[in-house]
């Protein structure tokens, strides 16, 4: 006795309904065929089918996938410290809006959809239309920022080094990001590498007396780290 397949009900669960165990496997997903350009990728990244875990970016045609767990000492702690200091600077001086990681930034001319480790948009950039908040389908919130953010930061990890120092260096410049900070805390010394946008490319910001000036935040910054009482690094972002 044989039955044809087409008449059988598909065994796979309907979307939205999770099988047991699926919760333990956030590391599998399908990239739809139409995600080959930025518009198609954005449709996917704004859909329910887009993976909640990991980082998936569209970088000028390339799709970059990183399912690595976040490193705490050389990544998470710096991100937290930046949030502590810069989010406060932004609020105290009423500069604009500071977003921590997992905020999606899209730029059409740079052909880019990415989640920087943090980003900042000044009130002026919103007002002049340089940056737009793209609403969700129900228009109750927004899940993308589109345009030229004033500032982005990437903290290097083993998996992201090439993307951050080469691919994004080029694409963030095309996206006319005013300041791009790169931080590498993996080696013997913490390395702080801020860049400012120039027509010809990102130009390294030079330190003056150990302090790196930032035109975007109107302050100078330096990174310090010291061993804390459990023998781990504590990072400090100092500003003046």
């Amino acid at each position: 006795m044989a039955t044809t397949v087409s008449k059988r009900k598909p065994a796979a669960p309907k979307r939205g309904k999770k099988t047991p165990g699926e919760d333990f496997l956030p590391m599998s997903f399908t990239i739809p065929a139409d995600a080959r350009d930025l518009a198609g990728f954005r449709r996917w990244s704004c859909s329910d089918a887009f993976p909640e875990h990991g980082q998936i970016f569209y970088l000028a045609g390339e799709i970059w996938v990183d399912m690595s767990p976040e490193r705490l000492n050389s990544h998470n702690k710096l991100k937290t410290e930046m949030g502590r200091i810069l989010a406060n600077v932004v609020v105290e001086q009423d500069l604009g809006e500071f977003f921590t990681d997992r905020t999606r930034l899209v730029h059409r001319a740079a052909d880019l959809s990415v989640e920087p480790d943090a980003l900042f948009v000044s009130w002026e950039s919103y007002e002049s239309g340089l940056v737009k908040q793209i609403p969700t389908a129900d228009e109750e919130d927004f899940i993308e920022l589109e345009g030229s953010a004033d500032w982005v930061v990437e903290i290097l990890s083993p998996s992201s080094e090439k993307k951050d120092t080469q691919t994004l260096m080029h694409l963030y410049h095309l996206a006319k990001i005013k300041e791009y900070w790169l931080i590498d805390a993996r080696g013997a010394k913490i390395r702080f590498m801020p860049y400012r946008w120039q027509e010809t490319g990102f130009e390294p910001i030079e330190a003056k007396g150990g302090w790196y000036p930032s035109a975007v935040f109107g302050r100078a910054f330096r990174w310090q780290r010291k061993k804390n009482r459990i023998g781990q690094w504590t990072y400090l972002l100092e500003s003046r």
Binding site: M1, A2, T3, T4, V5, S6, R8, P10, A11, A12, P13, T19, G21, E22, F24, L25, M27, S28, F29, T30, I31, P32, A33, R36, G54, A60, G61, E62, I63, W64, V65, D66, M67, S68, P158, S159, S160, E161, K162, K163, T165, Q166, M169, H170, H173, L182, D184, R186, G187, A188, R191, M193, Y195, Q198, E199, T200, G201, F202, E203, P204
Partner: protein, 242 residues
């Protein structure tokens, strides 16, 4: 315009000190870039044969979609079943001189089905190789084969939570398009389920078991799965043949 940024990046390149970037890349098997060209089958095949293609995980091209699975393999419901299939079917292929049996991680490409994937096992009769139904594609150095192109006679997929939709829907139609005579689908996660599909023009037909045995035309034998507890008290899968 790019020069300045690139030079600046190089001057400050973090990889200059300590571990070089290639070693670091090797430490991160869970991160990779899918090149822009990999959006059609030919571009995907170029990528899958390149050094940059991830060694870990499972990545398939299914008619324009790219399926990515970096989940670790489950032992009881996946690896144990695969090992038992290899034990029985690889022996059968040798003892009756039927053809070639390949364990998992062999990349199968089929142009009609727009498919590049790694089944959990595949088998082709000698005659299929001789008629050119299945051919080998060499690596760039010409020394090793890295792809089988065409239509094997048999493939198997063992369902895992991350592959269920792919195995039971997408591959069911793509393996049919690829003209593969027999598709075995096994789900060993809860109640053991074994479906033997046979190719027919209108779609795969699920062949019903007779007295508990599933007849395989490709292997010329009937098969059934049996579960028992081994001396460690674990569920053991046995593939029996007659």
């Amino acid at each position: 315009m790019k020069t300045m940024a690139t030079t600046a990046a190089r001057k400050r390149s973090p990889s200059k000190e300590g571990v070089d970037s290639q070693t670091r890349e090797a430490l991160s098997p869970l991160a990779f870039a899918i090149p822009a060209q990999a959006r059609d089958l030919e571009g995907f095949r170029d990528w899958s044969r390149a050094r940059q293609f991830p060694e870990n995980g499972s990545i398939a091209f299914i008619a324009g979609k790219i399926w990515v699975d970096m989940s670790p393999e489950r032992i009881e419901s996946h690896n144990d079943v695969k090992t038992e299939l290899n034990r029985v079917l690889a022996n059968l292929a040798v003892s009756e001189d039927l053809g070639k049996f390949q364990a998992d991680r062999v990349r199968l490409v089929n142009l009609d089905a727009e498919l590049s994937c790694e089944p959990d096992g595949l088998f082709a009769l000698w005659a299929s190789y001789e008629k050119g139904k299945l051919t080998k594609q060499s690596a760039k150095d010409g020394r090793a084969s890295v792809e089988l192109i065409g239509s094997p006679d048999w493939v198997v997929e063992i369902v895992s939570p991350s592959s269920e939709e792919k195995d039971t829907k997408e591959l069911l139609s793509k393996y049919h398009l690829a003209g593969i005579s027999e598709y075995w689908l096994i789900d060993a996660r809860d109640k053991f389920r074994f479906t033997l599909y046979q190719w027919a023009p209108e779609g795969y037909k699920a062949i019903a078991a007779k007295n508990g045995w599933n007849a395989s035309e490709v292997f010329g034998h009937s098969f059934r799965w049996r579960q028992f507890k081994n001396r460690l008290g674990e569920i053991q899968h046995r593939l029996e043949m007659r």
